[in-house]
């Protein structure tokens, strides 16, 4: 009886020791701050313009970008500075191509914003006066989902101060633009954030998505979809397509907060859940994460 009591006590102590102890230096007493999206404002560039130098060459674009960033600052929100990231990207020699569309993708990949706001400034000079149009586009980096789009017009004025006209065009729309983004954020808070899930097989794998697995011997693709049905937040997911070797869910919603404990939730945690499930089927998966895109490779 004595030995049993000792054993029970030891077991009780072991069960209550957490896997990782909270470091006293970082212990916030349980307070949780919601992780905010990273947003970067970037200039729009045409095919013949160089995104690396477009701001240096054009003060009107710099004014437009600064006014947009000011609007975010006024809402108490800090954006990623494009020029600082550009300098860091150059210092790190990340540019592997001169193709402008590739360079833009490389900067966005390097800076890794969740959302980028692209500002296009269009100057019209006529004999009846000058005007500036500004087009603002806000998109999620990984999914391409559009969050807000607005066109601002300074109106036509007899002035050579194009910078002032840029400012006017931005001021006309930026608050409404941010309000639209905020409505989309509310939708994300309520219905989850979008992630992309790309599942494929390595070259040497003896399995494919038609392989029958699990207790009921169902095709792997169906098992995975059934799992997604149960685990996507509010059952909200979209299957782009399935072949024998690739399965892509191009929009899966995951919650911003872990529904069991209120802590911040992220794509890596969801990737781990999926990895564990595939492992439980007797397969050998690896997982990779790039922004909000989860790559699962089954070996």
């Amino acid at each position: 009886m004595n030995k049993i009591n000792i054993l029970n006590t030891i077991l009780l102590v072991l069960v209550n020791i957490p896997l990782f102890s909270q470091n006293s230096s970082t212990n916030s007493g349980g307070q949780i701050v919601t992780v905010q999206p990273k947003i970067m404002v970037i200039p729009y560039t045409k095919e013949d313009e160089n995104i690396r130098t477009v701001l240096e060459d054009d003060v009107n674009k710099r004014i437009a970008i600064t006014k947009i960033k000011e609007a975010f600052d006024n809402r108490g929100f800090t954006t990623i500075d494009f020029e600082t990231k550009l300098k860091a990207a150059k210092d790190n020699n990340i540019f592997t191509s001169d193709n402008q569309s590739d360079i833009k993708s490389q900067i966005i990949e390097f800076a890794a914003p969740d959302i980028y706001v692209e500002a296009e400034v269009y100057v019209q000079k006529k004999s009846s006066g000058n005007s500036v149009k500004v087009i603002l586009r806000g998109n999620e980096s990984s999914t391409g989902n559009a969050l807000a789009n607005k066109v601002g017009d300074s109106g036509t004025w007899y002035t050579e101060d194009i910078g002032k006209l840029s400012e006017k065009a931005v001021e006309q729309i930026v608050e409404d633009f941010l309000n639209t983004m905020q409505n989309k954020f509310t939708e994300i808070v309520n219905n989850g954030k979008s992630v992309i899930i790309d599942i494929s097989f390595s070259g040497g794998s003896s399995y494919d998505f038609n392989s029958e697995m699990g207790d009921e011997g169902l095709p792997l693709s169906d098992l995975l979809e059934m799992w997604m049905e149960e685990n996507a937040f509010k059952n909200n997911y979209h299957l782009q397509g399935t072949t024998s070797l690739k399965m892509i869910f191009d929009d899966v919603r995951i919650p911003l907060k872990d529904q069991s404990n209120g802590k911040n939730y992220n794509p890596n945690k969801f990737a781990l859940l999926l990895w564990k499930y595939i492992k439980s089927l007797g397969l050998n998966p690896t997982k990779d994460l790039k922004g909000n895109t989860i790559y699962i490779t089954i070996n």
Partner: protein, 154 residues
């Protein structure tokens, strides 16, 4: 006979007590006069009341009501409502809105209030137009601090 009369009287009183309550909603007679760079917004608002002072207070409260729950057509920043689900939010934050309206907490966000029309005599009461200037920056900060609305972001 006497008992029958008493019964009819009680029945009649009961029927009157059961009549449908009139529900009144604030008027949407609020128009944008100006939207200023310093974060203030000036609205012309109609107010109704049994006397002049009641009508002025009603106009001021209407301006806030429309700004918060309906949106201001023509405004760059506030053409959509600040608070989308009026009933749910008012129920969730009863104490805040009681203080806001009944204890005139809205006055703390009202930079200026000018009666801009003559007193209009109605069959029952008065109507008046008031130009109300609201400090929207401090109003929004207060709503965020009291968790009525979310700060920009998630």
């Amino acid at each position: 006979m006497r008992q029958l009369n008493i019964f009819i009287l009680i029945l009649f009183t009961g029927l009157i007590a059961c009549k449908t309550k009139n529900i009144s909603y604030p008027t949407a007679e609020v128009v944008l006069l100006s939207e200023n760079k310093d974060g203030t917004i000036t609205l012309k608002s109609a107010g109704y009341g049994k006397d002049f002072q009641d009508a002025v207070t009603d106009a001021q409260m209407n301006a806030f009501d429309i700004l918060l729950f309906r949106g201001i057509p023509g405004s760059n920043r506030f053409k959509n409502p600040i608070i989308m689900d009026e009933n749910m939010v008012k129920n969730q934050h009863k104490e805040y809105f009681d203080t806001f309206y009944s204890k005139a907490y809205f006055n703390t966000f009202m930079v200026n209030s000018v009666v801009s029309s003559n007193e209009i005599h109605l069959e029952k009461g008065k109507k008046v137009f008031v130009d109300v200037t609201i400090n929207t920056n401090s109003l929004l900060r207060d709503l965020e601090q009291n968790n009525i609305i979310r700060k920009f972001g998630y």
